[in-house]
Subunit: 113 residues, 2 copies
């Protein structure tokens, strides 16, 4: 397991829309599974699976209280990383990837390179 592989595993884990939304929610504070499920409007089992994946990458940890299980980020640095990443994307116009790509394809068809 190289550093690049470890790091890639981590990035892939966060790089899933639902998991990223979970992380962004948890960045604001602890949430139980039910809250996450209803806020994200996804199947409960799906949220559970994603939480498991996040836990296996040490991104979140749990705390049980009665029947409920509360999750939170293992470290505030994670939230900061997401924010930094977001800022970078804005700087680079990395959002709206789609439109950019469509332009590219159009150029290629009309003869560049």
């Amino acid at each position: 397991m190289t550093m690049a592989e470890d790091q890639a595993r981590f990035l892939r884990c966060v790089g899933e829309p639902t998991r990223l939304e979970i992380v962004r929610l948890l960045a604001k504070g602890e949430r139980c599974v039910g809250e996450l499920t209803s806020v994200l409007n996804k199947e409960q089992s799906l949220i559970s699976h994603h939480l498991k994946a996040l836990k296996e990458c040490n991104i979140v940890k749990e705390r049980q209280e009665a029947q409920k299980v509360y999750y939170k980020l293992t470290n505030a640095g994670l939230a900061r990383l997401i924010v930094d990443c977001e800022a970078l994307m804005k700087e680079l116009s990395l959002c709206k990837c789609q439109e950019v790509n469509y332009e590219r394809k159009a150029n290629q068809k009309s003869g560049k390179r």
Copy 2:
């Protein structure tokens, strides 16, 4: 396309071991496809495919010189992000995810929860 989806797409793109290694190499400076191919010891077409994926996320850009095509990062902030991420992973012992997971599985089998 929500912000989370855009950001996830970006993270997923970098979250592939070979692509991450490409990014780490390009963080040190421009490289042509041939160099990347031989340094990473992968098929040329594979490197091309990965470069295309990185380009589609605006992570790299190209410059042609004679037959060769040189790639570099679109922005130095990308390199910084990778470094920050690496630092965070070390802080959290997120490297060696695997061993941690094996322990967990062992615990689970022997009856926890």
